[in-house]
Assembly symmetry: D3
Homo-oligomer: 212 residues x 6
């Protein structure tokens, strides 16, 4: 009898990720997500098992490999750094090759402050009245991107550039416009009408961004 | 002497909109924004001057005029309906001509529940892993668009369609992708690289979406 | 040995509903509550098992059966529509027979915007200074009921009426005054003193509202 | 010219209370509301004018006068104690004559913890499933009333009783059921149907609770 | 096979406390933490097992034993009183012997309102500009300590004193300066430089506060 | 007559700082605080006067001058960088001479993520059970300090060190323990008892930290 119930339970747990789903005021000093839970979640590692290593992160000392657009991003949210769980913050290291770009994107759940570690970066955002706020920022300068607004960056200097972005959410999320629009499978007819492009032009864009 | 100070004050007030800047727990039953303050703001109309008219809205009984994409939206936020001020909600009526579309867009500050008043509407959103969730919803059905995620709609029925969208912010904001990306003045080179399009193709898109 | 522990665990889980207990900023795109958990809760369905059906709701296309007061309400919170989990919104369809009423009630955890789908409805709320704000609203009009304040409705038209109410909580709660006061078992003496009624009058009211 | 503008401004300010309308995370150590602003509001007294007197309150040392139901309440929110402004808390002293009652009521914007200072008090609340949780609490005991739920108290001891209630809002609000329902002017027909009472019975109740 | 999975599960659960990690708007009437979960957590006791005893607390009727500084504190957070879980409040009873002190401390997650139950207490806090706000408060008076600011108390009367402190968090936390600074193991050199004390002086302080 | 009113108004405004007092969800894209308001406040600069310069900050490119403890901090909150107003974030640049320390302190209103720009820094925090979490972090590593908990740093490398700290509040606040405790004027007797020090020892400490 006991065994039957246990089976039921196990199946249930294998079918659903237990994940942490809020960025509110904490009610504990901290709540380090246990390794065993892939995603940021609400169970907390037993505090006696928590060590200082849970609150430090060493994975962004060096840049990652550049993408086709000369860009590398290493987002460090609570999934990657479980000590951030419930603390309402996360960060990202982004590196730009000469001429490299961070495509227009936005973070649905956070404001970002971007500190330039190296280089000169054309950097900007668009507000909900379609007004652009953009300029070149350089080493030691900071630009703020208000929560949920479209923003973008391009290395306009002669050397590689990098930034440290900080967020006021443990998991800000990221929607990159080109892939979200042209690589997700939105009905062609809708895209044609939305952008005023022909079926052929949309098809060409989709080929670029739909994952193979 | 008094007059000099008053001048100073007046100048100050003409230079800065006093606006209400948060969607938190209210600390009053209500706080109807006075007409005199164009934007949603933190001063509240004297409660003795508040009437039931402040809490009712009659401006979305009828559809608006269709845009070029066969679409009409009448967003009713706290700027339009001052009784919503501090109450954490707003709404929109949207109408679709046959084949009309609501271009891909997102609301930076709210989840939306869209109730279909009339018609059959292809409706969907894209999550941050670029996965699409889309289907045709019809009269009496509801679709939810999670906060800050890209979504879109198209009337796929044979008659005009309309929806009532509700938001959990008094001012959810709206970024329409085509105009925000191609109509705001983002550096051409960045757009070319982001979308893999030629200078000519980007220029053509910009001509469509930059306001004249 | 293992079996003993498993028994313990199972018993524990059978004794406590794991429920989701907050309406804060989300930290995930969405968190669809798994079917197996009766109540809105913090575990999320494995995202690979999530489909568009989780974000659409078809259960309020038609009115429900009228109660004795000529009223039918179909509240759609995160228990009924698990896709709303963590998204901070829910809604209700309410239908009124001619002369039907929605008794004075309030929602402890949400503001409501009520959109009139059909008919003419006397609609109002009372603020904490006991001031009433009431009027007849009709098809296409909207009334807002501020969070936690008493409100009520009556179909004063010649035909059935219906509304769509939207809430800024995934589970706004509902306290109907007649049943909460006279049907819950509050000490008679207290009720007599509170309403200035005789023991017989209170007894009569209780007979009406105490469930049989 | 200056004079004309100043007139405009003054008129504007006389027509609208500037009030503080939220209970969120503070961004300052404190923000004492200036005396000159009748209501809790967002301007803060110049910090150099703030003294320790702004953070202490001496007005509830002694009970107030009993009402007809043998009850006295002295609510201390941010309007009365401006130092509470933005700090998210307030409190109330309530005194009960022998047999005195606190009529069924709720606070739309706060949970309450009620500590019994003296006496024995029948005390309870009703949840949204109309289930009652009530018992006699005595000196030194505490009962919690969850946010927005109906609750009530009666002194069932042989001596006067008193409590200190604390709230997690600077202005929790208060709706007393008898006056809000029968003293606010809700349409008679609606009340008759809601409570199953005759026009005469409702009229009698209204005479008791409508202010003269 | 089933047994292997169950073992896995049990191990996982023994390694991680499931704790409730937020103080946001509730989405349920209440969520009483089950006894079996040592810490405040997100699972809720099955509501049919909830009784009025879950919402009342009798453990602070009498003072505790005085510490070496003539002080006794009985903090009642959601760990001690599970009915507070998700309701955003907690409280403490503190007793002071003649001359007894509550050492400088702060609560990282809450504002406190301290009501004097008995006696005369020198009471104050320090703001972030190092300005002190202190005075003697007596029976029936209230002092508010803004969220996260250092505060302290000393019984300056001729008789024992006591207070009831209330908090707007279910688990406000507490850092006592002497033990947190000198009893936690911060590097000596850092403490010497921070306080301008010699190695011997720091060693003496550490001997007092490091737990043996 | 008009002039008299204007005088009244001016006096009122000179006596109270209008300051922004919350860190909640924004309801606008942004709300740049006007220069004329010394403190972070709720009026927003007219959006037509807002430029990209309002969202970029250049003031922390170079280190400041070291204090006596070999430390320099340049906090950049919404008072210094008005574009941060309502966006829920701020940051600080801190520089350490060889052996320089950041004294034990805490931020009452924010979590901090500290990214090491240069050098090797002993870095740690103390939780509310007086447990220390400390280690040496170096260039490119990040340590998180949970909201409201005591933390501290010391340059243990052979070269100057610096960090970029980010906060999830527009104005996190800062309490430095040595000055807050010994430099604010807390009653000597209380400090003697709290730290187990003699009147002479306390007097010596106070001489170091009371501002002259």
């Amino acid at each position: 009898m006991m065994q039957k119930r246990a089976v039921l339970l196990v199946v249930l747990l294998l079918h659903s990720h237990v994940v942490f789903a809020s960025d509110p005021d904490p009610v504990l000093d901290f709540c380090v997500a246990p390794k065993s839970s892939a995603n940021s979640n609400h169970s907390c590692k037993n505090s006696s098992a928590v060590t200082v290593e849970d609150f430090t992160f060493s994975g962004i000392k060096y840049p990652g490999n550049y993408s086709q657009t000369g860009f590398s991003a290493m987002p460090v949210n609570s999934n990657v750094f479980p000590g951030l769980n419930t603390l309402g913050m996360s960060f990202v290291r982004a590196d730009f090759d000469v001429g490299g770009i961070n495509v227009p994107h936005f973070h649905p759940r956070a404001t970002e402050t971007a500190f330039v570690l190296e280089g000169r970066i054309y950097s900007g955002f668009v507000d909900t009245s379609n007004r652009i706020f953009a300029k070149v920022v350089e080493k030691g300068e900071v630009m703020v991107f208000p929560r949920g607004l479209l923003h973008f960056q391009m290395n306009v200097g002669d050397t590689p550039a990098s930034i440290l972005g900080s967020f006021n959410s443990q998991n800000p999320g990221l929607q990159k416009i080109p892939t979200a629009i042209f690589g997700s499978g939105i009905k062609e007819e809708l895209l044609e009408k939305a952008f005023g492009l022909s079926a052929r032009e949309i098809a060409k864009l989709r080929r670029k961004f739909v994952p193979h």
